[in-house]
């Protein structure tokens, strides 16, 4: 579990450190204060900056268009990956790039650019890459290749070759196992939900997901995914005590779908991290306390660390009531922009958040 987390030169963050994280963390902040970017940074860190996670992050924000071209040394580089870096610029050779770290020093990851020279061994018919010092690299040299790399504990992992035409670039290594699940602002795709269900169907976790759904609608008795022949995908149906025949889960309202996705994702990421952007979406205020109770309980049971964002005061109040029941498991903070436009975390302890809730003082 991350006890603290630091971000440098990622997205809008110059340098940010949040200490005293909990098992279940809620972030607030105005638009563009970096809440979603914070979740992305956690994802990138937890997935050890895999090429797959880098690609995920830029494609989710529709940043895969090749916009402005930029220069490393004297070569044009139009990689969309640059959008992940502060000021949308890839670091030059030898420059500091994105640094993500936790309370464990050895976990720190540095994502930057490195130049290599490709050396050919004619006899063996193989080639290998020799790392070049950043000074004096001739990028126009056809034998020089620039890579995006992740450095960690003295080891360098090449993520992708830059300055190649076409996208996505050839990833150098494939991703690590799923340690992170993301519940996005809007709905997950139906096939993603179906896949998650398959992973826990017929396991004890299925009961947990059903119990979660009952928070919203007590009449729900069971869930099954069936082939939707028209669309060629599988859709969730629920059996309820109200109707004789099963009805589509999505017809039961946004709240049911949202809760289903949150609990399903949580149940599928044992020992990992759950990220929920705009937690409150679709959830009526009156059920939010019970949803948070479920999240706290399952997170503890499955050893999951949760990071969620919200814009909603109801959501903050509901989170607070669940935190009160689990005083050692929560953390709450706001990302604030200072006069210089730099992001600053403001952490609330349980008592102070309670005071703000009781006296209706703004926290967001």
């Amino acid at each position: 579990m991350l006890k603290s987390f630091s971000i440098a030169r990622f997205r809008l963050f110059r340098s940010l450190e949040v200490s005293s994280l909990g098992r279940v963390n809620l972030l607030v902040g105005k638009n563009n204060s970096g809440k979603s970017a914070f979740l992305e940074a956690v994802q990138l860190f937890a997935e050890r900056a895999s090429p797959h996670s880098l690609w995920d992050l830029v494609s989710v924000r529709e940043e895969t268009w090749s916009g402005r071209i930029e220069i490393i040394g004297n070569e044009e580089v139009g990689s969309p990956i640059r959008h992940l870096f502060r000021e949308h610029q890839l670091p030059g050779l030898g420059d500091q790039g994105i640094v993500l770290g936790s309370d464990q020093d050895e976990d720190e990851i540095h994502i930057c650019t490195v130049a290599y020279r490709r050396l050919h061994d004619e006899e063996e018919d193989v080639s290998r890459l020799e790392r070049l010092e950043p000074e004096g690299v001739e990028i126009s040299d056809p034998e020089v290749e620039v890579y995006l790399v992740a450095e960690n504990g003295g080891r360098t992992r090449r993520l992708m070759k830059l300055a190649e035409s076409g996208w996505p670039p050839r990833a150098v290594r494939m991703p690590v196992p799923k340690k992170v699940r993301v519940v996005p602002t809007r709905s997950m795709l139906t096939h993603e939900v179906a896949d998650l269900w398959d992973l826990i169907g017929l396991t004890p976790l299925e009961e947990e997901v059903l119990a979660g759904l009952k928070l919203i609608d007590e009449s729900i008795e069971d869930v099954a995914f069936v082939e939707d022949r028209g669309r060629g995908s599988r859709m969730p149906l629920v059996r309820t005590t109200k109707f004789d025949e099963p009805v589509p889960l999505n017809s039961m309202g946004d709240g049911v779908s949202r809760l289903f996705q949150i609990v399903l994702a949580l149940a599928n990421v044992e020992d990992g991290i759950l990220l929920v952007d705009e937690f409150e979406n679709g959830l009526h205020w009156s059920i939010q306390p019970r949803v948070w109770e479920t999240v706290f309980r399952l997170a503890s049971k499955l050893n999951v660390q949760v990071f969620a964002t919200t814009h909603s005061r109801d959501c903050v109040e509901a989170f607070h009531s669940a935190w009160q029941e689990n005083p050692d498991s929560g953390a709450f903070f706001r990302l604030s922009l200072d006069d210089q436009g730099e992001v600053r975390p403001v952490a609330y302890d349980l008592e102070t958040l309670g005071d703000a809730v009781d006296t209706r003082v703004e926290v967001r």
């Binding site: 706001r334 302890d349 102070t352």
Partner: protein
């Protein structure tokens, strides 16, 4: 500076938190009587606990307060215990509190993202009491003696039912009941000049407000402080 809506539920970047509406009106009355322009909002928290909670939450609020003043009563426990309670409540915010509450009221500088903090414990940062004890000091001694006798008579004859802790309140309200417009609040009597606002305690309180909120005060106010 003008504020809309409830006159004792004002917000903004410079705020004075008081326990009750009476405190709110006394502060307003004092400033009006001394013709000092008020450049801060006043918020009545309805209780001592509510005041501490609100103060604690406001220090971190996203609006980033410039100045936060607290006016509390010390009717049961005395000012030293109140001062300690404030320090305990706000300990997480990294203020450099003086060890003891200065008799002229505390003004503690803020850090880069925390407001300047002022504390006044009624009546005078020194005695046990409340805003009513502060007000009693504004009433002419001879008049007050008559009120004391009347209230004592009420107690002796078992007409007066109030608890001991509320004695000052009973005295103030008895006095107010006898004025030209019976029952008119204390604050309005001060504002209207029917009660003095230049007793040593009142002057000291106004000077504390002036230091905290950087108010423009007249010359005699400054000299009396020196």
């Amino acid at each position: 500076m003008s504020f809309q809506g409830d006159r004792c539920a004002e917000e903004g970047s410079r705020v004075l938190l008081v326990e009750g509406k009476d405190d709110c009106h006394v502060v307003r009355g004092l400033l009006r009587s001394r013709k000092i322009e008020r450049t801060f909002g006043i918020f009545a928290c309805e209780s001592y606990e509510g005041l501490l909670s609100r103060a604690n939450a406001l220090v971190l609020a996203p609006t980033e307060l410039q100045t936060l003043g607290l006016v509390l009563d010390a009717n049961l426990v005395g000012p030293a215990a109140r001062w300690q309670a404030i320090r305990d409540k706000l300990k997480r915010h990294d203020y450099d509190f003086p060890r003891s509450l200065p008799t002229e009221g505390a003004v503690v500088p803020g850090k880069s993202h925390t407001p300047r903090l002022g504390v006044w414990v009624m009546p005078d940062n020194h005695s046990k009491g409340s805003v009513e004890d502060f007000c009693l000091q504004l009433i002419d001694e001879k008049d007050l003696d008559v009120v004391r006798e009347a209230v004592q008579l009420g107690k002796d004859r078992k007409v007066a039912q109030f608890k001991r802790v509320h004695k000052s309140k009973a005295l103030v309200h008895t006095y107010l009941a006898w004025q030209d417009e019976p029952g008119k609040p204390m604050g309005q009597n001060i504002a209207g000049g029917r009660l003095p606002s230049d007793t040593p305690t009142a002057m000291s309180f106004v000077q504390w407000l002036a230091r905290l909120f950087e108010l423009e005060t007249s010359r005699d106010e400054e000299t009396s402080h020196a």
